[in-house]
Structures are given as structure tokens and as C-alpha cells.
């Protein structure tokens, strides 16, 4: 089925975006990225570490993936905007995964700072991929501000708790015209499938793969889950009922 993902004017065949944080080694990361079939990969910027060997960017480039830099670790709009501008110089891309967190225990987005940073970055010509809560109203405000995609969390980053409020995700999906990418909280393949069944356009995950016992195998599972969930969503599921509905007709039942 030809069902491309449209993001910021570009077309992708995979609906799975992979974060690279938490991988035990660059070799393990490369195996996972390959198995996932992803075409978009997130990276971060940190101070130069003279002891580091190899670069995550070499892995991403070798696989031909597009880089989506993030602003992980930023607590204020000011820091996030500055980090986005640094990322634009580093990776020569206008794409930015905008994370502005409220504290380091929950890593939940700070809605006020997030919206402020979004407006500044859209004005500066960035394609903003906004990591946000599952609040449909905030999602709408971000869409109105001009983001390339709204990226609600399923549950806190790295928690593996899945999608805690699927109803909000479904409402958010209906509330905005831009792509919705479920970002954060995915624990296993069924979580990714659920995100797609709820109508999300793509799934972004990192820890669920990089911290799995066999990362490349989990990456393959996620690829299949995202494909299955997307197919199921477009196929149209049957309604949930309290009582049974016979699949075999009672008509023509013999008198025994």
C-alpha cells in the first residue's frame, strides 16, 4: 500500500522515527537503526568529549537517514531557541525537535516556555517538531503557531509506561491538521501499534529499542508494529460491544 508520511514538505515511507539516546554502542545503534527501517533519526548537541570514539553522525549518514536535532535538556525558551540555532549550524537543517522541560524528575514539557520557543523558532524559519503533553488544546495552540508536527507524549520519557491517556491522543489527532507523532513513553511493540491505531501519523521512540535486551530485535518489532497499527487504522476497526454478535448465522439451524 502506497501510504507515504508527509513531514515539513518531505515524503517518507517509514512512519517510525528513532531516537539514538541510550544505545550501548554505535555498532548496536547501527544494527537497530537498520532493523527499524527508519529514515529520520534524532541526535543531540553536547560539549566536545576528547575521549569519545566515533560519531553518531557517521552512523546516521552511512544509513542515509535524515537528522532531526533535539533541544534535550533545555528548561527555558531562551536556552531552547539558542540550542536550535546551534543545531542549525551543526547539521545545516531547519528541522528541530523542540523539547522544553519543566523539571528533571518528570521531564514533562513546560507548556508556557514551549509555546514561547515555538513562536520564536517558527518566526526564524525553523520546522518545529514540538514535543508536548497530550493536551489537545495545547496541541491546537502549537499547530496554530505553525509547527511542522505536534508530538504528544504517551507517558514520561524513558518510562516505558505506554500511552496513559489514549482518549486525549485521539482527541488531539482530531483537533489539528498537522501531522501528529506519538513521542515518548513507548515500552513495547503493542504501544507503538496503539499509537498508530489511534490515528497518529508516526511514532518516535528511543529507549524502548536502545535499552531493550536485544535492541535490534525490538527495532524490527517496532517497525512491524507501526506498519500493523497504520494498516489497522486505515482498515477501520469494528465497534466495541458489551454483548456478543454472532459471526455464524442462526438462520437455517437444524432442529436436533
Amino acid at each position: 500500500m502506497d501510504d507515504p508520511l508527509l513531514l515539513a514538505g518531505e515524503t517518507f515511507s517509514s512512519r517510525l522515527i528513532l531516537g539514538t539516546g541510550g544505545a550501548p554502542s554505535l555498532d548496536a545503534l547501527e544494527a537497530s537503526l537498520s532493523a527499524s527501517g527508519t529514515e529520520i533519526v534524532t541526535v543531540a548537541l553536547r560539549r566536545l568529549d576528547p575521549t569519545a570514539r566515533g560519531s553518531v553522525l557517521d552512523v546516521v549518514d552511512r544509513l542515509g537517514c535524515r537528522v532531526l536535532p533535539n533541544t534535550a535538556g533545555c528548561f527555558t525558551a531562551r536556552d531552547a531557541v539558542l540550542t536550535a540555532h546551534l543545531a542549525r549550524e551543526a547539521f545545516e537543517t531547519d528541522w528541530i525537535k523542540l523539547e522544553v522541560i519543566g523539571d528533571d524528575r518528570t521531564l514533562l514539557p513546560d507548556a508556557v516556555e514551549l509555546l514561547d520557543a515555538t513562536e520564536q523558532l517558527v518566526d526564524a524559519g525553523f520546522q518545529v517538531f514540538a514535543y508536548t503533553t497530550d493536551d489537545p488544546i495545547l496541541g491546537r495552540r502549537l499547530a496554530d503557531a505553525g509547527v511542522a508536527a505536534v508530538m504528544p507524549l504517551g507517558s514520561p520519557i524513558g518510562s516505558g509506561a505506554g500511552i496513559r491517556n489514549p482518549y486525549n491522543i485521539a482527541i488531539l489527532r482530531e483537533s489539528v491538521a498537522v501531522p501528529v507523532v506519538l513521542d515518548a513513553g513507548i515500552g513495547t511493540a503493542s504501544d507503538a501499534a496503539l499509537a498508530m491505531e489511534l490515528g497518529c501519523d508516526a511514532v518516535l521512540l528511543a529507549s524502548a529499542v536502545t535499552r531493550a535486551q536485544v535492541p535490534a530485535r525490538m527495532a524490527e518489532a517496532m517497525r512491524k508494529a507501526v506498519e500493523a497499527g497504520r494498516l489497522a487504522h486505515s482498515a477501520g476497526r469494528i465497534p466495541r460491544r458489551l454483548y456478543a454478535e454472532a459471526s455464524t448465522s442462526f438462520a437455517g439451524l437444524p432442529a436436533l
Binding site: 541510550g22 545503534l29 560539549r47 547539521f91 528511543a206
Partner: protein, 68 residues
């Protein structure tokens, strides 16, 4: 002169430029995946080659790392 690189003091010959500092750490001004802030402001890639440094400047040299 002494500049601060990523929070640590670093001695450079007087008149050294940003490109010299990059070279000391194995990077060229064409390197992909690195970013530079000078005294809290982003230095555009196009300006790296000609950017002068002064005693007391604070340089942040950032590189691509794994991240979600």
C-alpha cells in the same frame, strides 16, 4: 591569551582565531556536526573561518551525540 573552552581555561597564541582553536581539537571549519557559541551567542558557520578571538572569550564547542 587565555580563553575558556567548554568551561576550562585554554592558552592560545596571541592573535589566534577560532579556526586555530578548532584545529587544536582536531576539527576544521568545514566539519559537520559541530556548533560554536562565543560569549553566549551562536557563531554562524559562514563566520567560523574569519572569527577572531580575544583574551577572556568563552567558547562553547559542541558536537553531535546520541540523544532521543
Amino acid at each position: 591569551m587565555i580563553v575558556t573552552l567548554n568551561g576550562s581555561p585554554e592558552e592560545l597564541p596571541d592573535g589566534a582565531q577560532l579556526s586555530d582553536l578548532l584545529a587544536v581539537h582536531g576539527h576544521t571549519t568545514a566539519a559537520r556536526g559541530i556548533a560554536i557559541a562565543l560569549n553566549g551567542a551562536v557563531v554562524r558557520r559562514a563566520d567560523w573561518a574569519a572569527q577572531a578571538l580575544d583574551d577572556g572569550d568563552a567558547v562553547e564547542l559542541l558536537v553531535a551525540v546520541q540523544g532521543g
